[in-house]
């Protein structure tokens, strides 16, 4: 009997992070980190489930969950093996659905829903293969990898043949790089010290701890008040010394002119990159800012809607660092496209993470990139924030400022059943005001 996808179940899961001001920045004063969560189940006797989610920061998670329900319903009844073997064509089918694409196209809620579902299918495929996602991806042939990519709207910057050439050039060194990765892990940087809601003493303490923990880069949120930013940058620079990179993150706070002025005002403290200085849609504006603040660099990506916008950010030279997000663009497949674009343009990928579960997801993509695409870890770091990892079946492991390779089969999205029960909104114990308890 052919095994099939039998159910696609969604859950609205929210964490009350606003109670501690974790995650507070100039645009997001009080986020409640949330996951519009999806579980793909099958009738295969192996019992594996695919888990995925879209990350949001609270209100609206119910809308995101509704969108995942709609996308997920398109999978029910499909044969399991042939579906998982053909995730490239499936991605195209979902993204270019002639009616659903009106809701984007390829952006916002409907695209993030595709991300959640696609990532859940990759989780399922990896579990069935008994491999962590990075290893599954890094074991595909160059032809299998390009078959994951939709080259529509990309061919003026990257053709299938060019992508194949990039992947083939990286093939000979794969085994050696995998060994390096297993031995050394992948560099991270930490955003833990820099949330706007923290007072100076907490900032100073967390900066010290970051250096002690082996990180060579930290990040500070900026953009609410220039005097505060100058004071906090001074504290951070004094605490970490001259050799630690300090990135700053404005979370889209500024217009083009204001971004240039503000970043220039901070240059005495040697900011390494400025992240999201303005609207993530403003390709020309980001390029103008990059020219205006050099040698300080621009990094952007966590809110970039899709590969078409990333293509342009690369074409204009706006980005010095490209920040993929595992759960905003259309999941693994589109991120493979973006990694290939970045490799073509020679721009290092430094993923956005943090939130809830984004570290768990995105590490796989950077490790795949190192082994099979760019072939480099130079000048590359994965964001790390030390929140909420305890909710995952296989939390990330960061030692001496580096992500250790995950070994559990899957894509990293699976939350513990106790978490899914307790944090379900609005009826989980955490939200009902009751003491947190394990319901499963």
């Amino acid at each position: 009997m052919t095994a099939r996808i039998t159910t696609v179940h969604t859950l609205d899961v929210r964490f009350p992070t606003s109670r501690e001001l974790d995650g507070s920045d100039a645009m997001n004063p009080d986020p409640d980190y949330s996951a519009a969560y999806v579980v793909v189940s099958t009738d295969d006797p192996d019992g594996h489930e695919g888990h995925g989610f879209a990350f949001t920061i609270g209100r609206g998670n119910e809308v995101q969950t509704a969108a995942i329900e709609t996308i997920g319903s398109m999978l029910v009844g499909r044969p399991l093996d042939t579906t998982l073997e053909a995730l490239g064509p499936l991605w195209i089918e979902l993204v270019h659905d002639s009616q659903l694409r009106w809701l984007g196209p390829e952006k916002g809620v409907i695209h993030m829903a595709i991300s959640a579902v696609v990532n859940a299918l990759w989780d399922l495929r990896a579990k069935r293969a008994g491999l962590p996602l990075w290893q599954l991806l890094a074991g595909l042939t160059p032809e299998e990898i390009v078959d994951l990519v939709d080259f529509r709207y990309l061919t003026d910057a990257l053709t299938r043949d060019e992508a194949l050439a990039i992947l083939r050039a990286a093939e000979p060194g794969r085994a050696e790089r995998e060994a390096t990765l297993r031995a050394q892990g992948y560099p991270g940087y930490t955003t833990t010290p820099g949330w706007l809601g923290y007072d100076d003493e907490k900032l100073r303490r967390l900066c010290r701890e970051a250096v002690a923990d082996g990180f060579t880069q930290i990040k500070l949120k900026v953009g609410a008040d220039l005097d505060d930013d100058l004071r906090r940058m001074r504290i951070a620079r004094e605490t970490v010394g001259p050799d630690i990179r300090i990135a700053v993150d404005a979370n889209q706070r500024w217009d083009v002119g204001a971004a240039i002025d503000w970043v220039r005002a901070l240059t005495a403290f040697d900011p390494w990159w400025v992240e999201e200085p303005t609207s993530p849609d403003d390709v020309l504006g980001l390029a103008a800012i990059a020219r205006g603040i050099a040698p300080v660099k621009v990094a952007t990506g966590e809110h970039v809607a899709n590969r078409v916008v990333f293509k342009q950010l690369l074409q204009t030279g706006a980005l010095s660092y490209l920040q993929i997000d595992a759960a905003r663009v259309g999941g693994v497949n589109e991120n493979v496209a973006i990694l290939l674009l970045a490799a073509k343009f020679g721009v290092p990928v430094c993923p956005h993470a943090g939130g809830v579960g984004l570290c768990e997801l995105v590490q796989h993509l950077s490790m795949f990139d190192f082994i099979a695409v760019s072939g480099s870890m130079d000048d590359r770091v994965i964001e790390y924030v030390d929140h909420l990892h305890e909710h995952f079946v296989a939390p990330v492991v960061v030692r001496d400022g580096r992500y250790l390779v995950p070994t559990a089969p899957g894509a990293g999205a699976e939350m513990r059943p106790q978490t899914l029960a307790a944090y379900r909104f609005p009826d989980g114990a955490v939200w009902a005001g009751e003491p947190q308890r394990s319901a499963l």
Copy 2:
């Protein structure tokens, strides 16, 4: 007692247009035109309601409706007068809500939901004023108009002072232009002949009828098959003669290189503009296409997510015609911003319409633009499609190829109660497979 907003009610309304292939194009073979519909009610004794909707083409309308429910819930309990008097600050509050903006930001489902709700509030305000929306807007002072606009992310292209100067320059001629508009109406063009699903004989007949009806521009869908497009363009050009403009619309079908090649292949039949030749997110790609196909022009806008993308399309010179859509960007307020941007760059606005109700909505914006912003109807046309107008309380009136000024108070979105009952999905009579009937 202060009157308040008491309920914001949503409805999933769908029309089975796919049964006749009305609306078929290269990317949308079988749309079911739909409205995620919203009604804002109050406890004011005047009994007025505000109606609005987001337009979709079928599947996913339930997601759009859920998003409107979320945005709408933010209005319940607010005082009526002060809310309607301050739609500029309200727009900013809704769009920049720190948690909800994660779902966009300013794009896709969540932004279209804001559009529906904001337009419903404008409908309510106009009804309470006893004025059609165009007249309400055209009666505001320049200061009141710029107060509707969020200049965030625009100031590198358009400042508040520049916008004020544009509006003040147009002030002296307002009364005269209003008289002209009342006497002559506003020019339209028709897309009715050109849907891909129609056979050649129907195309020829509808082209003849369009000219007989007084239209000076028609539009054909293209992009599925070049030989078909060449044959259909030949038929259309032979039927309408050399003096009628024929626009073509590819609905995002092509990559940059393919767009240039395809449009060049059609030049023997003198296409006036090519609409949506590629991804609406590809500012650089659209600019490259514009350079590659001149003197054929590029028109785009129905899927442009927000004013930030329009800003760049104007900055690069990609657009010869800017196609606002009444219900994709954040409603009236954001379209006022876009009209001001277009005026600054001297680009004519030729709105996207059709669908269901988009003609009814967008005519108000073009007429406001003529009276109070650009001051011109030259080289400007509003799209017209002769579908589904019978469902509206105040349907558009088009005579001799021109939109006559609407006189009913409101913004045009209100559907007949019989329609809302019969076409409600999935339980209305039309969808239950029963004979269509008036349920109210």
